[in-house]
Symmetry: C2
Subunit: 292 residues, 2 copies
């Protein structure tokens, strides 16, 4: 396993981690400059942040800083109740692939969607199996375009507590089953993003990481699980503050051949989003050395 | 599948559902009387409620009402940091088995425990694999006593969001692996409690229910998953108010041979625990007919 204790060469910052600083939304261009000042070599920005800053300005700021993108957040949400909705999702996902190409991202992360309407508070049906079929179809269709562009797609299994409203792919095993179906040759065009927050509890995690192997391990995300967790979405912890044995999971992904960035992705309304961004970044760097 | 639309013969009330009424804690003897008045034939009480009412008084009230216990809540919490803690857990679990026998419960439900200290807010270690080994050892040891008493043990896999602090068995597959190891003959002494709240998201649920089969399907718990869910523990929904296709899951357990009670277990601080108990019970009965 690589030694992270002496530097932060392999640290990437998912820009959600410092999208709010002292309770205020920060622009992506500010965030890029902050990361650059800290010698951070990679980030993973969100589409809405890129849209606000404009794609052109973002691409140029990233080029100027000499930064890599460990991923682009995010495509997905493939589910809908009718043909029109499915087509709109597909069109939007093609645009996400194109943006990821412009930004030269390592992969487009896919949060696949779940029961239509649930995220808005009222599910339009309870058919999880249908949602899962739509996800498979949607990824299959998008994969054609992504292959042409040379942009790898990384399915991110989300924690089962998001099965209703965010993603109906909730285990690494399920994500890899989709990869086997849609890319049986293990071409590298389709793989997974392993986020310790979503997967740490899974008794099959080690075996499934081994199954994925280097061609399918496209991204590795870290943060921590707090006890108690007070909010289902925005109460993630800084690495070292929770219960996840992150170095153990990193040893598994590295043993399986992953050699990319360790991307810090923390949604923390009550704590880190209230802190100054520089403090959050300094803590990310420190914990990357000590607790990842 | 049995027709529930015409009556509530197969409804059981987990007494946590009405342990608070209009925000006030209710005694178990009151709860038993309320259920009896509604023609409810089965309940599943909690150990702390039984302790408050005394075991003798509870047993006699249940006998007088001619009620069955669809289960007894709960044994488990097998994990600890040292021999003393493990022994204390074992002793307490033996007492839980004995109480379940006195109350003539269908099974003792096991919530197996997780990282020691996590439920109190500070995990004493991050070794989930150790916790899982302790759970296997603990159930194995308890099983000898439970067999002698003729009390079936039902492992309840809890939702993965409880992996840190309540139960490190989080899928039906894992629970059944434990059953295979500890009771390879499928004697009926060890099985599972399938709660739709904990398991509905699992893409392998149908297959694992089939794998369990009648000898291992010891209990079936229902409530619903709300969107949004505002609290990890106490925001469960009434059947029909959320996204779970409960009749579909019931069809799977019945096809696999389960013919017992459908037990309503709702922890709802913000809603049902604030309502009058009679309203909650009336709604349980109505929804049992319509949405289970």
């Amino acid at each position: 396993m690589r030694d992270f204790s002496t530097g932060h060469e392999w640290l990437s910052i998912n820009t959600a981690t410092i999208r709010q600083q002292q309770g205020e939304e920060r622009s992506l261009l500010d965030i890029i400059a902050q990361c650059d000042r800290r010698g951070i070599r990679a980030i993973s920005p969100w589409r809405d942040q890129v849209a606000s800053a404009t794609l052109t300005a973002t691409a140029s700021a990233i080029r100027a800083a000499g930064m890599a993108l460990s991923g682009y957040c995010r495509g997905g949400m493939f589910t809908a109740t009718g043909e029109e909705g499915l087509q709109a999702a597909h069109d939007d996902n093609r645009r996400a692939v194109d943006e990821a190409c412009t930004l030269n991202a390592a992969c487009l992360v896919l949060v696949v969607g779940a029961l239509p309407g649930a995220l808005q508070g009222q599910a339009l049906n309870k058919d999880l199996q249908l949602a899962r079929r739509q996800v498979e179809d949607g990824i299959g269709q998008l994969l054609d375009h992504a292959r042409e562009c040379g942009m790898p797609l990384a399915i991110e299994p989300l924690h089962p507590m998001y099965a209703a409203d965010r993603a109906c792919v909730n285990t690494l095993e399920h994500a890899l089953d989709l990869c086997d179906t849609l890319d049986p040759d293990r071409s590298g065009a389709l793989g997974v993003a392993v986020d310790v927050y979503h997967t740490w509890w899974d008794p099959k995690l080690e075996a499934q990481i081994r199954r994925a192997g280097a061609p399918r391990l496209l991204a590795f995300h870290v943060c921590d699980w707090l006890t108690p967790t007070t909010d289902l979405l925005n109460d993630r912890g800084m690495m070292g503050d929770g219960v996840i044995d992150i170095p153990l999971i990193r040893s598994w992904v590295e043993d399986a051949g992953f050699a990319g960035y360790s991307e810090v992705e923390i949604f923390s309304k009550a704590n880190w989003w209230k802190q100054p961004g520089d403090k959050t970044l300094a803590t990310c760097i420190e914990r990357h050395r000590q607790s990842v």
